[in-house]
Symmetry: C2
Subunit: 133 residues, 2 copies
Amino acid sequence: MSFTLHPRLAADTVFVADWTLSRVLLTNDARYPWLILVPRVADASELFDLARQERATLIEETSRAARGLKDLAAAAKINIGALGNLVPQLHVHVVARRDGDAAWPGPVWGHGAAVPYEPGARDAVLDKIRAGL
Amino acid sequence: MSFTLHPRLAADTVFVADWTLSRVLLTNDARYPWLILVPRVADASELFDLARQERATLIEETSRAARGLKDLAAAAKINIGALGNLVPQLHVHVVARRDGDAAWPGPVWGHGAAVPYEPGARDAVLDKIRAGL
């Protein structure tokens, strides 16, 4: 089996880059700077479905995304989550949080409907993220 | 600076074990089998505050907790999160989720008040977790 991005992740995000292990996506929600890392491994749902070396790479890539996003967004805190209750394909959320954002201090997941980027704003964010990560 | 557990984490959990890197805690909330791993590293808040080797250990310990909890709880999905909006000390939630649990399919964080274990039930859960992780 080869890796295929889950259709819901494909629908809710735009492509940023392919890193060594993970496909990096930007969630199409202008409320928060929000990346999703999806290991390009078929049929992985839980962390323990990965090989040990893949896990080591995943946490390095997660840390890289977190550091880049924190600097770019001047965030108070980075939130990291791997839930998968709705989309079983293993994916790691990396979200820049600010005091006063739409869900602060609660979690972003399940908090209201996404506010899609205007196309121009989205492209500007993508450029900034591709340059800064 | 030496490691000290944040008082809110201390208040909301009971001690399970000290692993190589992390203190393992059971959240005192009978609604979900819910562990928290706290790297015993002073002043760590974000993943990138850890050394690379510490991150590799953290994801192995997280995976170990996830696998153990999934088996013990016959969970549909393990949810993993490192938020820190309220408690800045780096800590990783590992939560066993079941279809129909109190927050399903949403996140557990911020979802209503904790339901503390009865002391006897808590000790039974602790015994099971200590034996099964």
